[in-house]
């Protein structure tokens, strides 16, 4: 309860333009958001850019936060930023294709991953479909409830539960196989 109150006070400070409060929000959520971006892109440089974009966007939009689940609100922005990144990447890929260059586009293909940092989990995540991969990462890093996840994704909770279960089961099989 104290933590919730503290977070509410910090957010109130952010709304008042207190840079120190923004700094505290960064300290509290940077690690989780970075993990979310990294596991989806497999690229540290891209994750750096997306994390910066996320917190700048947060500073711009904090006045629109209405006091519901802060994690839900923050990770909704993170998800939008990730999808914007995918769209930009697709446009860039099409542009390159027009120039007759061969570029591999999958976000989790090894060619675009940080070869030094890549771990087995990152490889196996690449074997899941994009939507399931994103759902698993959203659940893990945002720590949102299934109800909140379903609401964020605008789908019935049974659908979210089923997709997540199938995805996690497959990931488990891949990792233990």
């Amino acid at each position: 309860m104290t933590e919730i109150k503290d977070l509410a006070q910090i957010i109130a400070g952010c709304k008042n333009g207190d840079a120190e409060c923004f700094s505290q929000v960064v300290d509290m959520y940077a690690s989780r958001c970075y993990g979310y971006f990294y596991r989806l892109t497999g690229n540290k440089d891209v994750s750096d850019d997306l994390l910066g974009e996320l917190f700048v966007k947060l500073a711009e939009k904090i006045s629109s936060y209405k006091g519901r689940s802060f994690e839900g609100w923050l990770f909704k922005i993170a998800s939008n930023i990730f999808h914007d990144y995918l769209r930009r990447k697709q446009r860039w890929t099409r542009l390159l294709q027009v120039r007759k260059r061969h570029v591999r586009t999958e976000t989790t293909e090894l060619g675009q991953l940080d070869s030094e940092r890549i771990d087995r989990l990152q490889v196996e995540l690449g074997n899941l479909d994009k939507d399931t991969r994103e759902l698993i990462m959203l659940r893990f890093y945002s720590q949102l409830s299934f109800k909140e996840l379903a609401k964020m994704r605008s789908e019935p909770i049974g659908t979210t539960l089923s997709k997540l279960h199938r995805g996690l089961r497959k990931l488990r099989e891949l990792m233990e196989g």
Partner: protein
């Protein structure tokens, strides 16, 4: 990542699956999330965090400056609008005293203000002199100082006085 919200996964799965299937599903989820915890993602660099905080601070300061500028701008507009409205109001409603009319006198103010009317008008001066002269002659006649025919002289004086009066008003 141990802080997942406290929700009863089995109860949740139980709404859609049989009891046995729900137990298995909960086991799948818990084991998979354990694997995720065993493979932590890299942490953001300290330089990156510092850079992000700097960018946010700059943005916040710019926004404050923008808000201040906007306040000043709006206050200026409001003040200007008030000044214009005040000026229009004064023009519309301040038309001076009503119900009285002023007329310009055809007689110069100096004449009204003067205590010596004869000095202000040459005709009046001449008339006054003539009247004084006739009064002097009348007094002489009345006192019998000139020794002549008093009654006829008085009549001539009266005629002369009438002539002077008529001549004065004709001019």
């Amino acid at each position: 990542m141990n802080g997942h919200n406290e929700q009863n996964l089995k109860e949740l799965f139980g709404k859609f699956l049989s009891n046995e299937q729900a137990d298995k599903a909960v086991g799948d989820v818990q084991r998979a999330e354990q694997i995720l915890r065993e493979y932590p993602a890299p942490e953001p660099d300290a330089e990156l965090i510092f850079d992000i905080k700097s960018r946010i601070t700059t943005k916040v300061l710019h926004r404050r400056a923008d808000v201040f500028t906007e306040i000043v701008y709006r206050a200026t507009i409001v003040a200007a609008a008030l000044m214009i409205l005040t000026a229009i109001g004064l023009k519309l409603f301040d038309r001076g005293p009503t119900g009285t009319a002023e007329y310009a006198s055809i007689i110069p103010n100096v004449l009204w203000e003067s205590n010596d009317i004869t000095a202000d008008d040459m005709d009046l001066l001449i008339l006054t002199a003539e009247i004084e002269q006739i009064e002097e002659q009348a007094r002489t006649l009345l006192l019998g100082e000139n020794g002549g025919n008093g009654e006829r002289d008085m009549m001539e004086l009266e005629i002369e006085l009438v002539a002077i009066e008529v001549g004065f008003w004709k001019e």
